[in-house]
């Protein structure tokens, strides 16, 4: 009775000279990971459709005129990919320099490591280089929008929009360098369509969106991930059975996330599951 998926063909590709076999429909990024090759990503989300916004994952496909974003380009039979070619490394270096010179990547996991690995020098554009620096928007008690850290990857917009939450509280406003993620008419969140599910925070790659608890603790210097435990349990509110990962420091819940590969939630929660833990 259960409709079986049509059998997926396997595709043979070569990653850095190593033969890899992946299911048809897999991306080059999937193939790289299967081959044990670490390719940096920022705008790629494991629960979202690829947006191709950041270009930090580009790789060189043999015979192709341009570099290909590994996160969205499908693996094709016989494809030969080089993740560390001079051209790919140079491109990644420039992307990192442009991003790090304009946005604050201090809370982006692994950014510092990549900058060193690719020899990026974000300061080479000089002190006059344009930045997105601005004060953090703190307009509610649940989460903070610090757009000085925003790299415009659009993941929050997709999570809030038709890919998951379908609330459409935020979108891209403006053009070019002045583009920003914004509520309608740049209103405070509390006057927007926002339902405070925090599903945008869940996918943000740079910490531009962060829970108020984390934001405050970072500000006072008490945020310490090495002292935190992560335990996945089940939400205590309605009967849907959402999986919550509780980040606990000093026997206090400091952040709630959700496993992205879970069949119930796919990484999403509602305001109660994400924030309704105040009583424990």
């Amino acid at each position: 009775m259960i409709p079986l998926q049509p059998p997926r063909r396997l595709v043979d590709v070569e990653i850095d000279g190593r033969a890899v076999r992946v299911p048809e429909g897999a991306t080059i990024l999937d193939a790289c990971r299967a081959a044990g090759q670490d390719v940096p990503t920022l705008c790629h989300g494991d629960t979202l459709t690829p947006k191709n916004a950041c270009r930090v994952c580009v790789v060189e496909v043999e015979g192709a005129r341009t570099l290909a974003p590994a996160c969205s380009r499908k693996a094709e039979p016989g494809m030969s990919v080089s993740t560390g070619s001079e051209r790919a490394r140079h491109s990644r270096k420039v992307v990192l320099e442009l991003l790090a010179s304009s946005a604050d990547l201090s809370t982006t996991p692994r950014a510092a490591e990549w900058i060193e690995e690719y020899g990026a020098r974000p300061d080479r554009f000089g002190e006059q280089a344009a930045t997105v620096e601005q004060p953090a928007k703190v307009d509610n008690d649940l989460y903070v929008r610090d757009y000085a850290k925003c790299i415009l990857c659009y993941k929050c917009v997709d999570a809030c929009g038709d890919q998951w939450q379908n609330t459409f509280a935020i979108a891209v406003a403006g053009r070019g360098f002045d583009a920003t993620i914004s509520t309608e008419f740049d209103a405070p969140l509390t006057d927007s369509a926002c339902v405070f599910c925090g599903n945008c925070v869940e996918v943000c790659p740079t910490g531009a969106l962060s829970f108020k608890t984390e934001f405050d603790m970072r500000a006072e210097g008490t945020w310490d991930e090495s002292r935190q435990t992560r335990t996945t349990t089940i939400c205590s509110y309605c009967g849907v059975g959402c999986n919550l990962t509780l980040h606990v420091q000093d026997n206090k819940i400091v952040k709630v996330t959700s496993p992205h590969d879970n069949p119930v939630t796919h990484g999403n929660l509602c305001v109660k599951g994400r924030f309704g833990y105040g009583y424990v």
Partner: protein, 633 residues
């Protein structure tokens, strides 16, 4: 803001609750049970088990009731929400769970959300619905209010409160008259079709329009869309079950699935959305008066014999009291002692004043909770427990029957202890030397007694991110939907046929008249939960307190404006709340939540008219009047 957690035991002395040691509190609690049982027999005891706590706690709780005390008087607050779903589904299919899984919602063609504000009340379930809509599924919302769910629907059928059966009957009649019923399925897998066909015959589209207020064309469209879909899902929530004839409402929806063959196949099914994290599991574990763990029939001597052999005591061969009957028995003096675990009936029951009166007649009341709730404040002994979902190990079972692991992330505050530890300490004081070293040990005992859970080891639950019951074997998994047997061609494998129900329309008990001209219905908001004990503890930007919501037309007629405080009076009580204007309501219909009982006790307005089969109260339909407050002087 919010309630403080309980951090140490309390006992009543000279009318006041005072701090006590665990030793003293446990001795007092056990002594009171022993005294009452010695004087009146085991049936003077009643347990309300916690639909918020783990399967393991619920198993030990019902075992305490049946083994240590020796009665079947155990129930939980599933009585106030989904007992009718369980009663209806198990009467037809022999099993009380929803028949489908969330993934199937995404793969279906037509979704009917009947009396379900899932967009606000079950937001992550609604994500699966939204996936289906983006893939091209059609959705019909049947609800008196134009809810967040209805705003996503292709058609909103705004029926009058309490006219679900006429609407379902009209849908059925239209399907039959259009020749769209599934004759092969009806013939093979059901009984009672002819009587059913006759019973719906009077409900023409026009007759239904008169009674339900839904245009005939919309009823017809729903009927045709549902019947002609390859796959269709029928989902419901408390809009169906919080009525005095709730089990009949559930049966009316099940009739539609039987008529069209939309059950027992991938993508087609019946999904009641459960309101509390483990209300499904509480029933599955036997924390209800008519079932043993594994939802096994307590009246079956063979099943009782297995439990008697495992537990070493005889089990009463009869149903115990359900929550509603317990409250009545308290008034009659037949139940004299009560053990409430994590329940707050003083604020969650319809007609809350009557509930307080009844609890106060008990000789001995023990409350085990994480907060000093209004109910706990009435107790003789208060035992501080850990919060199940993050302070203990165990499992919960969700609305798609998926058993998932609950893990301990925090130490409970102060002297608060694990529920199972407390139950074992009390059992020991009452002559049963129980010892469970871990939740897993309890679970393995459940697995040895419940075939539906037998294959669910903790290791497998972890590896597979939960398993849906039934799971009889450690080596295999069953399909994600139930009752595939109904489609078998071999009659032996097909098993008992599913009966159609012949039902009568019974309008809400609380009649709308000149004195009480408005229909009050109740429900939840996105950011709050039930009596608000938990959800009041976080600073939600969405929270705006209790209001009486009404449409602009009614507000104008009453001469009131948004924010103005008004008096709302029913035949039972009267409260004051500010007005909130909501164009999603229709004239004559007003709405309140139950989230803020300490400010506005909505349940002093609601009626305790209960479903005779499942015992659920008619929270969804009270008659009220709304009056302007007259300034004094």
């Amino acid at each position: 803001m919010g309630y403080d957690r309980l951090t140490h035991p309390l006992v009543r002395e000279g009318g006041e609750l005072r701090r006590a040691s665990w030793e003293e509190a446990l001795d007092r609690a056990a002594e009171g049970f022993r005294r009452n049982v010695a004087r009146h027999g085991p049936d003077c005891f009643a347990m309300l088990s916690c639909a918020r706590s783990t399967n393991e706690m619920n198993y030990v709780g019902q075992k305490f009731t049946r083994v240590v005390i020796g009665t079947n008087n155990v129930d939980s607050c599933n009585r106030t929400c989904h007992a009718p779903s369980v009663a209806g589904l198990s009467a037809v299919f022999g099993s009380g769970g929803g028949t489908s899984s969330y993934q199937e919602i995404e793969d279906t063609d037509v979704i009917v959300m009947w009396g379900s504000a899932a967009r606000d009340a079950h937001p992550i379930f609604f994500h699966h619905v939204l996936k289906a809509l983006h893939k091209g599924a059609r959705m019909f919302a049947v609800d008196p209010r134009r809810t967040g769910t209805a705003r996503w629907a292709h058609r909103w059928l705004g029926l009058n409160v309490g006219t679900d059966i006429p609407l379902a009957h009209a849908v059925a009649r239209e399907i039959i008259h259009a020749g769209l019923h599934n004759e092969a399925f009806i013939e093979r897998a059901t009984v009672g079709f002819e009587e059913f066909r006759q019973s719906v015959e009077p409900w023409t589209l026009q007759a239904a329009e008169q009674v339900t207020g839904v245009p005939a064309a919309a009823v017809r469209e729903l009927a045709h869309a549902y019947a002609t879909a390859d796959r269709a899902q029928l989902c419901w929530t408390l809009g169906i079950t919080e009525h005095h004839n709730a089990t009949d409402n559930v049966r009316a929806l099940i009739n539609l699935a039987l008529l069209t063959g939309h059950v027992g196949r991938y993508g087609s099914g019946l999904s009641p959305l459960r309101g509390q994290n483990n209300v499904q599991g509480g029933g599955d574990m036997g924390a209800i008066p008519n079932r043993l763990p594994g939802f096994q029939d307590i009246l079956d001597p063979g099943i009782r014999a297995r439990f008697e052999a495992a537990w070493g005591v005889p089990i009463q061969p009869r149903h115990g009291l359900n929550l509603t009957q317990m409250l009545e028995a308290m008034a009659e003096g037949e139940v004299t002692t009560c053990y409430l675990i994590g329940e707050n009936p003083v604020q969650s029951e319809a007609d809350s004043l009557a509930c307080i009166k009844r609890l106060s007649m008990l000789d001995h009341l023990v409350v085990q909770d994480i907060f000093l709730t209004k109910t706990a404040q009435m107790a003789d002994v208060v035992l501080p427990a850990g919060a199940a979902w993050c302070e203990s190990e165990g499992t919960f079972t969700n609305s798609e029957r998926r058993v998932q692991r609950v893990r301990k992330a925090l130490e409970p505050p102060g002297e608060a202890r694990d529920d199972i530890w407390i139950l074992c300490e009390l059992a020991r004081r009452l002559g049963h030397d129980w010892r469970y070293d871990s939740a897993e040990q309890v679970w393995d005992e459940v697995r040895s007694l419940s075939p539906a859970h037998a294959g669910m080891t903790y290791e497998r639950l972890e590896r597979l991110q939960g398993i849906q019951w039934p799971c009889p074997s450690e080596d295999s998994l069953e399909p994600p939907f139930l009752h595939g047997r109904l489609w078998e061609s071999d009659p032996a494998r097909r098993g008992a046929p599913a009966p159609f129900a012949v039902l009568r329309h019974s309008p809400p008990v609380d009649v709308v008249d000149e004195e009480y001209p408005l229909r009050l219905t109740t429900g939840r908001r996105l950011d709050s939960y039930n009596t608000g004990v938990q959800s009041s503890g976080f600073p939600s930007p969405l929270r705006r307190g209790e209001t009486i919501e009404m449409c602009p037309e009614d507000a104008e007629k009453l001469g009131v404006v948004a924010g103005e405080e008004v008096r709302i009076t029913s035949r039972r009580g009267s409260v004051i709340a500010p007005v909130f204007i909501d164009p999603a309501l229709r004239p004559g219909l007003v709405f309140m939540t139950m989230h803020f009982p300490d400010e506005v006790d909505t349940n002093s307005l609601t009626i305790e008219a209960t479903c005779p089969i499942a015992g659920t109260a008619e929270f969804k339909a009270a008659a009220v009047r709304v009056e302007k407050l007259v300034a004094v002087g």
